[in-house]
């Protein structure tokens, strides 16, 4: 089930807005502060120049300073804005020699003023003023009274400059954000285009096309593309398995059917009832094998399609084993054998398996025992519990299997190392497949003095597993035999 959760574009856009917002705020504050500072610096320099110009125009007559404020100084002070200009020339005792506005300079400032000059902000009835002061002493050898030149102006000019500087930064920033947005959109489009290509390619595939993807993808999509390739490979494998299985099965069935056809044809050609009888006997035997083979192929095919996903209800293994044993013991096939049930545990052993599959596997084991042991042999089913495992064994006292063939007994078409039997070699493969599907293990062992023991180790259902610790050693299946 695919759920659409948000949009990649929206998410990226969101992050962009947040980051640009935070960054922009910081930038704006910085731009504001620095434009204020730049304006202040520019105008302070102007004030300084004006103060110097006025200072140079001071003349001393008989030790008394005479001031004629030059127009150039006022020119310097004037700004484009409607700022008001102020100047004052004082002597060291605070007496005003010349001034254009009646602004009182605080005495503390006057006293603190030295040759280096000073800049101050002053709030007056005329508005806020920026002041700069310069102390001037004549360089001559006659002692003269030093004077203080105070110049200033209202802040409109500074503010206008600062504002225009800030506005310029702001507009640059906005232009940058817009540009970034557009670029981001284009980038996203470009970045997502491999995804679009991939989508188009997958959508355009045929239903039976499991070939690997032939797409150029960026590194970030590589894993996704690989996962897809892996999926395709598995599907291809599954389909090939299926095809091979079908081909194998057809082949397996074709051979005995061809034999049937030939034998019956030969029988029909003859007019001797004895030959008919022989042919019929052969046809019967072959037909029996063929139908058994078909049944086994069907089981294998069904086993392959077992649905692992569904949780299985726990079933009582003892009951199932008894049921299967009763079923087989009552059959005519078993009439010549001594098929019986050995010990069963007193308490029920619950396992979570497909009942029919386990029956099929057990049936195949019993069928094998009946088929490959001489008449009169004992075949016994045992069930016991060992730790968290159920041990289900089928024991016979027949000839057993060559030791070399024991290991490969569970593989298809092995026939226990015997090529003389008419068996398909599928029976134990079914058992093996079933066991693996159930998380069980199969073990084959010869018994002394003779006989074969096949053991199925089945994991007990979880809530059945031992918690008392009596078996806490955790017997590993197979190691106890």
């Amino acid at each position: 089930m695919i759920e659409v959760e948000g949009s990649l574009k929206r998410r990226l856009g969101g992050w962009l807005v947040v980051t640009v917002g935070v960054l922009g705020l910081a930038l704006m504050v910085e731009a504001w502060v620095s434009s204020q500072r730049a304006a202040a610096r520019a105008f302070d320099a102007q004030l300084q120049a004006a103060a110097l110009t006025i200072a140079e125009a001071v003349r001393w007559q008989d030790g008394i300073p005479q001031v004629v404020v030059p127009a150039a100084a006022l020119q310097i002070l004037a700004t484009d804005s409607q700022a008001r200009v102020f100047y004052a020339v004082l002597d060291d005792d605070g007496r005003t020699l010349s001034r254009n506005w009646p602004v009182d300079i605080p005495v503390a400032w006057q006293q603190a003023l030295d040759e280096g000059g000073m800049s101050r902000d002053l709030t007056t009835t005329l508005g806020e003023l920026r002041l700069h002061a310069q102390r001037v002493a004549s360089a001559g050898w006659v002692t003269q009274l030093p004077v203080q030149v105070w110049v200033g102006h209202t802040l409109e000019g500074r503010r206008a400059l600062a504002r225009s500087l800030f506005e310029r930064s702001l507009s640059r920033f906005i232009a940058m954000v817009l540009l970034t947005g557009v670029l981001m959109g284009l980038t996203m489009r470009a970045a997502l285009s491999p995804l679009r290509r991939l989508r188009r390619q997958i959508r355009g595939r045929g239903a039976d096309d499991f070939s690997p993807l032939a797409a150029r993808v960026p590194k970030e999509l590589h894993e996704l593309a690989q996962a897809l390739d892996h999926l395709f490979a598995r599907q291809r494998q599954g389909r090939e398995d299926l095809l091979r299985f079908t081909a194998d099965a057809s082949h397996q069935l074709k051979t005995p059917l061809a034999g049937l056809k030939t034998v019956s044809e030969l029988g029909l050609r003859s007019s001797d009832p004895d030959e008919w009888r022989q042919a019929l006997t052969r046809v019967h035997a072959r037909a029996e094998d063929t139908s058994r083979l078909a049944g086994q192929l069907l089981s294998l095919a069904r086993l392959r399609h077992l649905d692992r996903e569904t949780a299985l209800p726990a079933l009582d293994l003892g009951e199932l084993v008894r049921d299967v044993a009763l079923d087989w013991a009552a059959r005519e096939r078993a009439a010549e054998h001594d098929l019986g049930l050995g010990s069963l545990p007193a308490e029920p052993l619950k396992v979570c398996v497909e009942g029919w599959a386990l029956r099929e596997a057990l049936g195949n084991l019993i069928d094998n025992a009946l088929r490959y042991t001489p008449t009169g042999c004992e075949i016994t089913l045992h069930l016991s519990r060992e730790g968290d495992w159920a041990r289900l064994s089928i024991v016979d006292d027949g000839p057993g299997v060559a030791d070399a063939a024991l290991a490969t007994l569970g593989q298809p078409f092995q026939r226990g190392g015997r090529q003389d039997t008419e068996g398909s070699g599928l029976g134990l493969a079914i058992v093996d497949t079933t066991a693996r599907r159930m998380g069980a293990r199969v073990q084959f062992a010869n018994r002394s003095p003779q006989g074969l023991e096949v053991v199925l180790w089945l994991p007990l259902a979880k809530d059945e597993q031992d918690v008392t610790g009596a078996f806490a050693a955790g017997v590993n299946p197979g190691e106890s035999t």
């Binding site: 029996e288 049944g295 008894r322 009552a330 005519e332 089913l381």
Partner: protein, 222 residues
């Protein structure tokens, strides 16, 4: 006996006819549910062999109809090997036995015979196999018509074995019947069985042991 075979595969139904007719049965073959339904309505059917996959419907629904109508005619269902779940459903619906295709004719004959015998016994309320018989009404057993003087538990054993005539009588069932459901020694049952074996010697009957499973009373010739 009148037997009904409901099977759409001509080869199989033909061989069923050929196998069952020599046993003294009249065998009628129907290839679809509707024909079989009509025949069943007439009654007088002793046993039905019912294939599950039929061209005009599910054999199981025919079985369900039959049982719903209170008809106890014995039914053996024939299933394909890969449809063992159907088997379970069939038995739940009231089938008496099942056979998975492909089956051996000997197997089929044995099942049919056993089932016919059981339904016969149910009909005349007497249990019997070969020369041995048991009358549930009087609780008396007889061999070759002669009453057998049997201790209580051996009598119960005869009854139980005959109830399962032709099939394996499970060990637990026999123990429960003979000793109640208490703890029983492992060979207590075997003691009674071997006593009964001695009594049946020479009567053409034997009790076969199925180790760990139970016992089956069978006729010596098969």
């Amino acid at each position: 006996m009148r037997l009904l075979v409901v099977e759409d595969d001509a080869l199989i139904s033909r061989s069923l006819v050929d196998a069952l007719t020599p046993l003294g049965n009249t065998v009628e073959v129907f290839a679809c549910c509707s024909d079989a339904r009509a025949a069943l309505r007439q009654g007088g059917v002793d046993l039905m062999l019912l294939d599950i996959g039929l061209p005009d419907g599910d054999g199981l629904s025919l079985l369900a109809e039959l049982r719903d109508a209170g008809d106890r005619t014995p039914v053996i269902i024939l299933t394909a090997r890969d449809a063992l779940d159907d088997r379970v459903r069939g038995l739940d619906l009231g089938a008496d036995d099942y056979l998975a295709k492909p089956f051996e004719l000997a197997e089929l004959e044995a099942r049919v015979r056993a089932l016919l015998r059981r339904s016969q016994q149910r009909a005349d309320n007497r249990l019997g196999l070969g020369p041995l018989s048991f009358d549930p009404a009087s609780g008396a057993a007889s061999l070759f018509g002669e009453p057998m003087a049997l201790p209580h538990r051996e009598l119960l054993l005869v009854e139980s074995l005959l109830l399962h005539a032709g099939a394996i009588a499970p060990r637990e069932t026999l123990e429960g019947r003979l000793f109640g459901f208490g703890e029983v020694g492992s060979n207590a049952l075997e003691v009674y069985v071997s006593r009964l074996r001695k009594r049946l010697k020479g009567a053409g009957l034997r009790i076969r042991t199925f180790r760990g499973l139970g016992y089956r009373l069978e006729e010596d010739d098969g």
